[in-house]
Subunit: 111 residues, 2 copies
């Protein structure tokens, strides 16, 4: 039998979880829909839960990840900042690098 | 704020999870107590649950991880095989290497 190695990573700050898969997915969908409500729905997450995750992220982030955009025909929405987009990219990169590292290490091992 | 990166790894075989933290802890405690019952108790796990994890491991392992030892004053017990001990060691090593890798990668990133 051939085994596969799986991994889950997350970042912690002083107040517990800062970034994890769920939070990154949420940011990603806010970026693509421009709406916390739509993003939460996409992830089958309550709006309340989404808010609590975003609040926890924003409080721990060095720079703010979300800004409220006002005006426009839709009456404004929520925008992910450059720092937020960088967080998404960095997290996914770190996750992929980790997976690659583990795949290579597993090849050298005899379970 | 300084962030820490955390990780959880596990191995999957053709039938789902093969090795994870819980299973490795279970093997470890069986090795140190010589008893599935005592190991399960230590991990606050039901005997039934421990058995199901061990059964899943044994079915997917290339070599058997546990043998029943008979005789002796205690009426025999359960012994972790060389292959089982190697699995514990390999899993812990892989986990540590992964953590070290992630720590180093995080230093290069700007979240």
């Amino acid at each position: 039998m051939k085994y596969k190695v799986k991994n889950r990573i997350w970042l912690e700050g002083d107040n517990g979880t800062f970034l994890g898969n769920g939070r990154i997915e949420l940011l990603y969908h806010i970026h693509h829909t421009g709406s916390i409500k739509k993003a939460a729905k996409k992830l089958k997450m309550s709006y309340r839960k989404a808010w609590s995750l975003l609040d926890s992220m924003n409080k721990q982030a060095k720079e703010v990840y979300l800004i409220k955009s006002s005006g426009g025909s839709g009456g404004g929405g929520t925008e992910v900042t450059e720092a937020g987009l960088r967080a998404i990219e960095n997290f996914k990169k770190l996750d992929q690098k980790c997976q690659h590292f583990l795949n290579e290490e597993l090849k050298k091992m005899d379970f």
